[in-house]
Subunit: 338 residues, 2 copies
């Protein structure tokens, strides 16, 4: 490869064949070439990247909003790339980072592999990972939410209302965020002396259709749950559909708790009780972290979740009376301690 060709690629010139450009990027990559002027991050201007697993979902909106706002405040332009879009190729994305001289990337997708992170490191592009997208992790700075505490709070709220049969509807079981929310749920149940029933735990996708399907499965059990904790607002919306299809009212017959507190929760009928994770703030924090990180060795930062109680949770229906919560008077007036 000639020096002028490499120079053209580094300068983002377009008069280089695509194949050649890809080879140059690969070569620079393997040499650990720093394409970025060291002082660039100290001044305003320039471009940073957001790689996100999905544009159009409710949680992605919040992340986009927070990332864009923080980038604007730092004087950066924000390039947004959908990692699950039909036109996406990881190698082309890495090439584009070099082309537009990205000052850093916030990665919110489980699509990025260890090898991809190694290539990013090779390009000396600082990286911050945002947990809500899942993903393997590459030893970079990581921003997440207190998923475990959020799951615990959701289940504890239902226990305190008197529920004993509480189902869990998770996302993909290999995602840390889904596993942590499940662990929190299990801890709250154990703490209340409720035996864990593995039949009540299901994993799927964080999407409405999956929520509907898993809710139907749980509500078809011989001893169905009186409450469901769906580990995303989108799957909680799917639970509403299943309840409606079975003629169950929420929260009279079935209590539902979601996770995320996206825009739509307060507009659902009934408004959804959910665990709020501050997605926009998390994304803003990730962008700010980019501004000071050199890309590696930072600890994981967890932003606090909070339970937002709305109209989708209530005590269990009378049919399951006699199973009152600890400290709650049983129908006969005597205190029961299960």
């Amino acid at each position: 490869m000639s020096v002028p060709t490499v120079s053209k690629v580094l300068n983002g010139r377009s008069d280089v064949a695509s194949v050649t450009r890809e080879r140059v990027v690969e070569a620079l990559n393997s040499l650990g070439y720093a394409h970025r002027a060291p002082a660039a991050a100290a001044t305003r201007g320039g471009v940073i990247d957001l790689l996100i697993g999905g544009i159009g979902t409710l949680w992605s909106v919040e992340i986009l909003r927070g990332a864009e706002e923080a980038a604007a405040r730092a004087g950066r332009s924000l390039v947004v790339t959908n990692a699950v879009g039909p036109g996406f190729a990881m190698s082309r994305w890495l090439e584009a980072l070099v082309q537009h001289r990205s000052l850093g990337a916030v990665v919110v997708t489980s699509r990025a592999t260890q090898r991809d992170f190694a290539r990013l490191d090779g390009l000396e592009v600082p990286v911050v990972q945002l947990d809500p997208g899942g993903g393997a992790g590459g030893g970079h700075a990581r921003i997440g939410a207190t998923d475990w505490a959020g799951g615990r709070d959701a289940a504890r709220h239902l226990v305190e209302l008197g529920h004993r049969r509480i189902g869990f509807i998770g996302g993909p079981s290999d995602l840390t965020i889904s596993r942590d929310r499940h662990e929190g749920y299990a801890a709250a149940l154990r703490h209340a002396g409720i035996e864990l029933d593995p039949e009540l735990v299901r994993h799927g996708e964080f999407m409405p259709a999956s929520g509907t399907e898993l809710a139907h499965a749980l509500l078809s059990l011989e001893e169905p749950p009186t409450a469901l904790f769906a580990a995303s607002d989108l799957s909680a919306m799917g639970v509403y559909h299943a309840a409606q299809a079975r003629g169950l009212t929420v929260p009279g017959d079935l209590s539902v708790v979601g996770f995320d507190d996206t825009f739509v929760c307060e507009h659902l009928s009934p408004p959804l009780t959910t665990v709020r994770q501050p997605l926009a703030e998390m994304a803003a924090q990730a962008v700010r972290e980019l501004e000071r990180t050199s890309g590696g060795g930072r600890p994981r930062i967890e932003l606090a979740t909070t339970l937002v109680v709305r109209g989708s949770t209530a005590p269990p229906p009378h049919a399951s009376a006699g199973r009152a919560a600890p400290g709650r008077p049983a129908p006969g007036g005597s205190e029961t301690a299960p």
Copy 2:
């Protein structure tokens, strides 16, 4: 200004004072300087811009998704900027376009003035305007939806169900899209021989709170409407809140039609009847238009809207019987022609 300084600005270098950079951009602007290599648009690579009035609203999600997908297919990186974000300044955005050598901009905001469009033309950055953001227009290519036909279809649907008192809840009255939807509504009523009552027409913001407020005003009229056409899904969601607060059921007591067909419509209770405008396709079309436009003189393209009938519309309550629609049997069995 020295040639090296101007060169630095054109090359997107960061070692130029912000004030200086702004002056250079202004000067280049006034000279009509073309910062873009003429052949750039013919090859892959490079950056295009999306300036959008709001990130986080339901309609913006669809636009982002469509624009990102079309950009990815064309091999471009998409910079996203929120024109109503707290950190936004038009002059800084224009400066950033020069800095990252934008190949073109899709503008979806009413914030851009005629002067801003003139400055974009001065920078020879091709521009395509997307109508859903409103805006004055700068004689550039424009992509919109058939707003007039959409408004007519919404009102006609309500007329066919037997409604005669049909309220209109619009967005800002200076936005063409809102005016066109209103004109379509008015045309459908006139066509059905229904006298237009100016009291039934209100303008506000395309947001839930505005929808709630205007719905309360309309439902407090001496002769309240039996149906409301809200010219955005978000304001329709606000109408639901007003109905609930007044103890009215949708659609039993009040029919509601929205506009946009955003993701949330099918998850509302009842699912919202709405006019679908293909926002993602419109945004994709805008990006494709950028690829072939030189920035001016293109006609306006309107993509078709379609009425999506769901659960929020029904015949008016019995109280208003005797006002059956043309051709619809009146309660007595005889045909009435109003």
